[in-house]
Symmetry: C2
């Protein structure tokens, strides 16, 4: 019986996770999935009350779950970086969630910001390394606050870290359209991305059926706008993955439609909408829950029910076709009405 | 009398620089600019013949010029990285060209890849730090080619380096629409970009008339697609500048329309089209020379003749309106015909 730790977090996190849970509960009952949920408080409230981000006992509790369903963290009362580091990055690193999986899939032509690209062209997956690179948090500052100050930030790549993510990407591509693109900057980052390129070339030989290509990160941003249809699966480092997945979210229609999985196939994986806590609209009941519902669909797929994930995605598509949407998407429904309508669509078919 | 060292380089570099020179020669004569040109061979041919990239005696010669006009380097016969490092990056570092100036300006609505954004919305400048950060070339590899390999690439930022580029950007913004945006990832790169953010906050106080804002690099890629009109001047580090200027080139209509200046106000500055040597179309006379001509216009502006740079840009706009373009832009002219037409337009008005 798959168990899910629910961490709604801050701001609209709570509101959108509610809708995701509505869908998971409905699917769970209809298909006898026996999903168990337990909710935990993390985020600004807890931090401001007690100074706690994720206390050790909570980390231990989370270890007993199969998956984590995270809303969003971030609050204007807390200095930038603290909640992101103490919660989001903490969980990614603690559970060694080395795969950040980001589907870039446009669900309806009208949401494409691009003149010539629609649902047939914008449909690929970015696989971002999620535990090392520039995110190692290693470095330092010499002579701080003087004219001679030098600041160093280390981009650290390990053979193990690079190999496992590239291997994951090859396996993923094998089960998709069979094409894998490496995105790096090995012409300049000769040490760190030299390793990426070498490992990529090596693993290629083990996957003769996967077609491969290679772009520098600067060129890939152009390609994502000009020819997104050439991509099936893109694998890249932590920092570049951060950048190109946000660009990807935009071409798939914006943050309101982007979900992400932080996966360790042998540990606890975590699913989240990509958007933040949006304090400006929090509490008004107008947040768009689709990204959170797409993250819920990713949970179903992660539990082996790709068929059900597709049903949820299909229902979201229908809700878009029928304009049963929140205001930011051009509709006039509240957050919970959007969730209700998607449940209705799921009921109906 | 301003002197320009011309380095056509490889592939289409030669072809497009020819057209840029046509325009510079015409403007030089018409407005008595007394421009002096001298051409030097760098690139694949020289490297393959002699193993030389830029020999010291050539560097010394280049030091005597006011500006360098570079075509492109890159050739399939030379392993990736060698010419880029040995020529392009070498010149940027040798002359400490710490400003990489990239205008992102759409010249005609029909070239915008974005549904809702045209010439009124896509018009800003990216100022990229050009001498440090991840481009320092510093790092190393431990236990290479073993399972325990660790590769480290250092992102190094100095107070001096960060301050001078941010100051340049504030000055630049002051003389533009008066808005400066910092693009960083200080929430994760706490050391290196912590320095960027601190210096930015500090310099703000010296420029009370410049309005400022701040986006993380991931968010800025979204904004560049969704709301490019909010930008006037963006300042960012070397690596992020590399990425977002290519994205910028795409939203301004593609590489065929993007030029770049590598500037050290106290040394030799270098101007180049952003595109590469395009070996696949080299020698066919079909390359699009507009980016090289825009780089030539940047040279005129750098020599204090903004008025003339604007005339050249105006002529390019007219050539676009009249579809006097190369094939990649939807026209049917050869490279040199495009140059000829732009000269004709300049003559006429
Ligand atoms: C909030 C931030 C630390 C995080 C990241 O940089 O990874 C976010 O941008 C993301 O992509 O999930
Ligand atoms: C060719 C390459 C080294 C260079 C860079 O990364 O700076 C290029 O992409 C650019 O932006 O001028």
């Amino acid at each position: 019986m798959p168990s899910i730790a629910v961490l709604p977090g801050d701001g609209i996190g709570k509101e959108v996770i509610n809708e995701g849970l509505k869908i998971l509960n409905f699917m769970g009952e209809k298909y006898n999935l026996n999903l168990k949920f337990e909710e935990f408080e993390v985020g600004a409230e807890r931090y401001l009350k007690s100074g706690e981000l994720i206390p050790d006992f909570l980390l231990k509790r989370l270890e007993t779950f199969d998956a984590i369903y995270l809303g969003a963290v971030g609050d204007p009362r807390v200095p930038a970086g603290i909640l992101e580091h103490g919660i989001l990055l903490k969980l990614r690193f603690h559970f060694d969630q080395y795969v950040n999986l980001r589907p870039i899939k446009l669900l309806n032509d009208r949401f494409s910001p691009l003149k010539k690209k629609g649902v047939n062209e914008i449909n690929f997956t970015v696989i971002r390394e999620n535990t090392e690179g520039l995110y190692a948090g290693i470095g330092g500052i010499l002579k701080k606050d003087t004219q001679d100050e030098v600041a160093i930030q280390e981009m650290i790549s390990t053979r193990k870290g690079v190999e496992r993510i590239i291997r994951y990407a090859f396996e993923f591509a094998k089960n998709n359209k069979g094409k894998l693109t490496l995105c790096d900057k090995s012409n300049v980052l000769t040490y760190s991305h030299g390793l990426w390129l070498r490992v990529f070339e090596e693993l290629k030989k083990e996957y003769p059926d996967v077609q491969t290509d290679h772009y520098y990160v600067d060129a890939i941003t152009m390609k994502m706008v000009r020819n997104p249809e050439i991509f099936d699966v893109i694998v890249t480092c932590n920092m570049f993955g951060d950048i190109i997945t946000d660009l990807g979210a935009e071409i798939q229609g914006g943050m309101g439609l982007a979900a992400s999985g932080n996966i360790n196939p042998n540990s606890v994986s975590m699913f989240e909408p990509v958007h933040g806590s949006a304090p400006d609209i929090a509490g008004k009941g107008i947040a768009n829950p689709i990204a959170a519902i797409l993250a819920a669909a990713m949970i179903l797929e992660y539990f082996g029910r790709k068929d059900l994930a597709e049903k949820v995605e299909g229902a979201i598509k229908t809700s878009i076709d029928e304009n049963l949407l929140s205001q930011d998407m051009g509709g006039n429904l509240s957050t919970s009405e959007v969730g209700d309508e998607i449940v209705k669509i799921l009921k109906r078919g």
